[in-house]
């Protein structure tokens, strides 16, 4: 059977989109190692904004409470179980609907592609959307902030979003003591606009 004109056009558009995606991703991948000065300046400006977030008492209290007592279901959560959960699973949705999750959503800008708040153990306290990993302990994006320093990751393609982004992380301080971390993914495409 010969394809109809609509069928042909639909297939053509699909192929075109795929080609555009590939051609767009290729140069971005090569630029992952270093950002140009302009983009870095924009990134720094965003970082300064995000640094104001971590001092929010809501975040501090949420992390502090989570450090004090991890809910049993969260304590029993493993990476495999986490992986099997859908993004709309109530367990997952609880992290987006709690007070810290709502605050994160309210602070989200166009450039922010993801954000998640972790306790001292790297377990999730709140996030904008389900993260790939349940626990980030042992990873620089969590471990560095826990030393009281900010962290900026390389340009990478987020598995969950499929977009180029740069992750920055900064500590959540209780006074001067780091008690958790806030990781924010910033879309390069949005930053460049």
């Amino acid at each position: 059977m010969n394809p109809t004109p609509n069928q042909s056009s639909f297939a053509g558009i699909t192929a075109l989109l795929m080609a555009l995606g590939l051609t767009w991703l290729a140069p971005q991948a090569t630029a992952a190692e270093a950002l140009d000065a302009g983009l870095q300046a924009k990134l720094d400006a965003q970082v300064k904004i995000i640094q104001t977030w971590v001092g929010d008492p809501v975040f501090v209290k949420a992390v502090k409470d989570h450090n004090a007592a991890v809910p049993p279901d969260q304590a029993a959560m493993t990476q495999d179980k986490w992986k099997a959960l859908t993004v709309l699973d109530p367990f997952v949705r609880a992290f987006t609907k709690n007070e810290a999750g709502a605050l994160l959503k309210s602070k989200k800008t166009e450039a922010v592609s993801e954000a998640f708040l972790s306790d001292a153990a790297g377990l999730k306290v709140a996030f904008l959307s389900k993260t790939t990993a349940w626990c980030h302990k042992g990873k620089p994006k969590h471990d560095v902030p826990m030393t009281g320093k900010s962290w900026q990751g390389p340009v990478e393609v987020d598995e969950s979003t499929g977009l180029q982004q740069v992750q920055v992380a900064m500590p959540v301080l209780d006074g001067d003591k780091p008690i958790g971390s806030l990781v924010v993914g910033l879309s390069l495409a949005k930053l460049g606009q």
Binding site: T4, A11, V87, L88
Partner: protein, 526 residues
């Protein structure tokens, strides 16, 4: 069977034509409405099906767009909302497919497969495997969506073909209906034309007959109007003369009335004088009776005086005797008695003179009594005469009163006669005016009769039978009455001249008995 008159026939024809036209319009309206309704229903059904197909395509596109949108979402709230919308859209699409019935079975099957593919996409997405979700979307869901679209397109074409076939059938049915109604209308129109032709023939025939009758009537009317005009002229002249005579009569009567009134006044005055005479006579009679009574009284008084005089005479006689006796005695007394004798003589002389005076008085009284008696007798005679005068005066008074009353009544009667004559004068003048108007009306009638002839000629020309209506021959021919008899000719003119030529003029009664109009002399004889 009684035939309806022309206006009714025309009215019936008009009503029938209007009715047939309305019926035709109604039939056409019904046919067209029914056809339009059928077409509308058919078109509506077809359009509904086609629109459903288009809408289904739209729904399908929306649902598939939702799937593609869902794949791009990261925010769980938006994702949750988008997934709900996707589910609703898929259900709506499914319901629309279900409404297509058996004809949409292929679409339903293909859509079921699309739902499975989309569920796989969503499952991958929910598990956070965006790559697998996109791959499934591109390799399975989108091609399946295209398969559904192709199936919908097939369904659309099938519906379109079916609708076209039904439209063709409907148009053929409508053509047949219109032809049938045209045939029916042609029959009705033919019937209407035949009926109208029959009415036309009948109207023409009847109008021809009526115009002929009108022509005859018009001629008779012209003759009659001429006669009426002549007669009215004669009446007018006679009335004028009569009016003049009546004016003279009225004048004479006014003079008579004046004289009679004067007589009545004089009679009234004579009556008054007679009454005064009678009253004077009555008064004279009464006075005479009083005078007679007075005369009787005078006589009685005279008798009484006579008696007194007689007594005085007897006294004088006795006195004389006594004087004589005294003289005798004085004589006897001689000397001594001489003086007494003188006195006695004187007494005797006085007695004698008294007696003489008494006799003379008695004589005069007798004479007076005699004269009084004579006067009383004359008074009685005068009274009798006065009584007769009174009786006569009363008779005269009554006669004069009767004369005055009769004169008054006569005056009133003459006044009434005068008034009646005045009224007759007015009536006569009015008759004269009416006669003049009748003459003018007769002339107008003549003119109208001519106009009637012209109208009849037009009418006959209109109905196509103006062969002899106003031809010179027909005008010259003697007028016929509507009943076919010879119409009476104009009356012979009986004038004084004809009478003077020796022929005896007919009297008014004779002319009236013959039905002829009156002549001038008839009015003079009145």
């Amino acid at each position: 069977m009684r035939t309806a008159n022309i206006p009714r026939q025309l009215l019936f024809y008009i009503l029938a034509t209007v009715g047939v036209s309305l019926l035709a319009f109604a039939v056409f309206y019904f046919v067209m409405t029914q056809s339009f309704r059928d077409n509308s229903t058919l078109t509506s059904n077809a359009m509904t099906k086609l629109n459903q197909s288009r809408a289904l395509l739209g729904r399908l596109g929306e649902a598939q767009a939702s799937v593609q949108q869902v794949v791009r979402l990261k925010d769980p709230d938006e994702l949750e909302k988008a997934l709900k919308e996707l589910e609703l859209k898929q259900k709506a699409t499914e319901a629309m497919i279900e409404s297509g019935g058996e004809a949409a079975a292929g679409i339903k099957a293909q859509f079921g497969r699309l739902k499975v593919a989309n569920k796989a996409v969503v499952d991958h997405l929910l598990l956070g495997d965006l790559g697998a979700a996109n791959e499934t979307l591109l390799t399975t869901s989108n091609p399946q969506c295209e398969a559904v679209r192709i199936e919908i397109d097939k369904h659309y074409q099938a519906v379109d073909a079916s609708a076209k076939a039904e439209m063709a059938t409907q148009q053929a049915r409508m053509r047949t209906r219109i032809l049938e109604r045209f045939a029916l209308l042609a029959v009705i129109l033919l019937g209407s034309v035949i009926y109208g032709w029959r009415i036309r023939s009948r109207i023409t025939t009847e109008l021809s007959g009526i115009s002929s009758t009108l022509a005859e009537t018009g001629r008779s009317l012209a003759d009659s109007s001429a006669r009426v005009a002549d007669a009215s002229q004669s009446v007018s002249e006679g009335a004028s003369e009569q009016a003049a005579s009546l004016e003279e009569t009225s004048s004479s009567l006014e003079e008579i009335a004046s004289m009679t009134k004067r007589n009545a006044d004089n009679a009234q005055r004579a009556k008054d004088l007679a009454g005064q005479t009678r009253a004077a006579a009555d008064k004279g009679s009464v006075d005479m009776q009083a005078m007679t009574t007075a005369m009787q009284a005078i006589k009685t008084s005279s008798d009484n005086i006579s008696k007194i005089i007689k007594t005085i005479d007897e006294i004088a006689f006795q006195t004389n005797i006594l004087a004589l006796n005294a003289a005798v005695e004085a004589a006897r007394a001689g000397e001594a008695g001489m003086g007494f004798a003188v006195v006695a003589e004187e007494v005797r002389s006085l007695a004698q003179r008294s007696a003489q005076a008494a006799r003379e008085t008695a004589e005069r009284i007798d004479d007076s009594i005699q004269k009084s008696g004579r006067g009383a007798q004359l008074c009685s005679q005068v009274e009798v005469s006065l009584q007769e005068i009174v009786i006569k005066a009363r008779g005269v008074d009554e006669l004069v009163a009767e004369i005055a009353s009769a004169s008054s009544e006569q005056s009133q009667g003459i006044e009434q006669v005068n008034t009646a004559v005045s009224e007759m004068d007015k009536v006569t003048q009015s008759n004269a005016a009416s006669a003049e108007e009748s003459a003018a009306a007769g002339a107008d009638l003549s003119v109208q009769a001519d106009a009637l002839k012209t109208a009849v000629a037009d009418l006959q020309k209109l109905v196509g039978s103006a062969a002899d209506a106003l031809s010179p021959q027909s005008r010259a021919s003697s007028p016929k009455q509507p009943n076919g008899h010879e119409a009476p000719r104009a009356h012979p003119v009986h004038t004084r001249e004809t009478s003077l030529n020796g022929a005896r003029p007919s009297t008014a009664a004779e002319r009236s008995s013959r039905g002829e109009p009156p002549l001038k002399q008839d009015f003079r004889d009145m």
